[in-house]
């Protein structure tokens, strides 16, 4: 869609975050501390000069010279001796020469790539959110018709014999992807392990609730897991699973009464990370006030998850009563900057009455999904209908699995594509983020 825009419309610029400098990974063991071999640092510098005419200063030669270090960082080349990486101001010809030398036998240059501006690790999603929101706002100003449905046209999705309304609204029904190869951890009240619509998709399960097995004595976890990976051909009724071939890792972190402790949830997150899950779906939370800062512990957990290739999506919370004008702040832990906060929509694509929203800067809803009158699995083998941001969250996790199935494996790419791929709604971004979570066909 972006490529089809006219010249007068701001474009998504994939090069916008390039610094203009080049990173060169060297195959030279320079050594560290007492092991350091100055001759090897000179060897690396000579290789860069020979291949591309690039001059570098070794970082430990200027470690005590602040001015020299700054000059090397800003205008010259700097060889980071402890890392064996050079950061150089190479022009296109020099960069090409460096790239060409990678294939040479015995070359000291292992890898060449453009240097990029980095977001702080704990602001990983916020960086994408900021970029996408700015792009959409620019588009809204320049070409409103491109980013909002036509005036007077309102979606009205319905369940039918083929699928639930949510699978239609998100595009999951028409997607050729199935979530195969993606491991999704659902941290909730457990699961009906024998449910015929998803038993085959359960790759791992574990209870973190003392004295309770992973069996779902509540029903909430089974419903959420069904939305993620229920069969494309359920035993009875329409299809309700977004990513029917995703592998489920079920962590029971809430009791059969639907309550849990932060410690159980954090243990579940760790288990999912160690199980190499690509996505963690958490339809849970605790109420916050607009002045509450995000939890340091959950932010740490989410940033560690991202570092290891796992994204976390969580329910924005159900504390609002919008028909009386009350919008509550996003729940904890969805209010953590590195966790996707998911709001809920009804079948008319209106923000659900109960769905929490953005009430403080920097703490808001990232994306929205179907969350009212959602049909999915129930313990005992059947189905039932539930409403909540809890239902919107597994829709989002399922779409993430479909995106992963397209070959998008890094957490950074998955996060970006979830946000950028959302279908824009004529609603405040504070309520729906970048829009309806949407699958690619």
């Amino acid at each position: 869609m972006i490529d089809a825009l006219g010249d007068d419309v701001p474009r998504w610029d994939p090069f916008a975050d390039l610094t203009g400098r080049t990173l060169v990974v060297m195959d030279v063991d320079v050594g560290v501390g007492r092991r350091r071999r100055p001759s090897r640092a000179a060897e690396a510098a000579a290789a860069l000069a020979d291949v591309a005419g690039v001059a570098v200063v070794a970082s430990d030669d200027v470690a005590d010279d602040e001015a020299g270090l700054l000059e090397a960082e800003e205008s010259g080349g700097l060889l980071l001796t402890e890392l064996g990486i050079a950061v150089v101001p190479a022009d296109p010809d020099q960069t090409q020469a460096l790239r060409a030398s990678v294939a040479d036998a015995g070359s000291a240059v292992m890898h060449v790539e453009a240097e990029r501006w980095a977001y702080p690790a704990n602001d990983f999603l916020a960086g994408y959110r900021h970029g996408v929101t700015n792009l959409l706002d620019s588009l809204q100003a320049a070409r409103p018709s491109l980013v909002a449905p036509l005036a007077g046209v309102q979606a009205a999705w319905t369940d039918d014999s083929v699928s639930t309304w949510g699978l239609k609204a998100t595009g999951a029904l028409g997607s050729r992807f199935t979530g195969r190869g993606c491991r999704v951890s659902v941290l909730d009240t457990g699961i009906d392990l024998a449910h015929p619509d998803m038993a085959a998709q359960i790759g791992a399960s574990r209870s973190f609730v003392p004295d309770e097995t992973v069996d779902d004595g509540h029903g909430h976890g089974t419903h959420c897991a069904g939305t993620v990976a229920g069969s494309s051909t359920p035993v009875a009724g329409p299809r309700y699973g977004v990513a029917p071939e995703a592998e489920l890792h079920i962590g029971k972190v809430l009791s059969n009464q639907g309550r849990g402790r932060d410690g159980w949830i954090l243990a579940g997150i760790e288990w999912a990370i160690l199980g190499d899950c690509h996505v963690i779906s958490m339809s849970l939370g605790s109420r916050t006030s607009p002045t509450d800062p995000p939890s340091t512990a959950y932010e740490r957990a989410a940033s560690r998850a991202l570092e290891r290739g796992t994204i976390i999506v969580a329910a924005a919370g159900n504390d609002s009563s919008r028909r009386f004008g009350r919008i509550s702040a996003v729940s904890r832990p969805a209010n953590s900057p590195s966790i996707f906060a998911v709001g809920a929509l009804d079948a008319m694509e209106q923000v659900a009455n109960f769905s929490n929203g953005t009430v403080a800067p920097g703490d808001g809803v990232d994306i929205a999904g179907p969350g009212v009158d959602v049909l999915s699995a129930a313990p005992g083998g059947g189905t039932r209908r539930l409403s909540g941001t809890s239902m919107a969250t597994p829709h989002t996790a399922g779409i993430a699995a479909l995106i992963h199935d397209q070959g998008v494996s890094s957490a950074a790419d998955l996060a970006m594509r979830l946000l950028v791929g959302a279908r824009r709604l004529p609603a405040a971004s504070g309520d729906v983020g970048t829009g309806v979570v949407t699958a690619r066909r």
């Binding site: 509540h218 309550r259 402790r261 932060d262 954090l266 160690l274 512990a297 560690r304």
Partner: protein, 80 residues
Amino acid sequence: MISPNSSEGPDRVRVLVTLRADLAGTEEELIRELDEAGLSVEEVSSVLGIVTGTVERTAMERLEALPSIEAVEPEGEVTI
């Protein structure tokens, strides 16, 4: 793990302790340090860098002042 700090009692609170990312030392040394500061350690997640346990309310400030600790938060209850 056996801790001299009781995990029961009305003045004790359950806490989440986030450790500094650049922490040095072994897990044993860390647990000993936390224990000496009054924390009864229950779980240590080395992957996340988070410890859960209980501590006297009056000892929370002392615990948070340790150089190895980034934050101490009361553990909360979460629901569906």
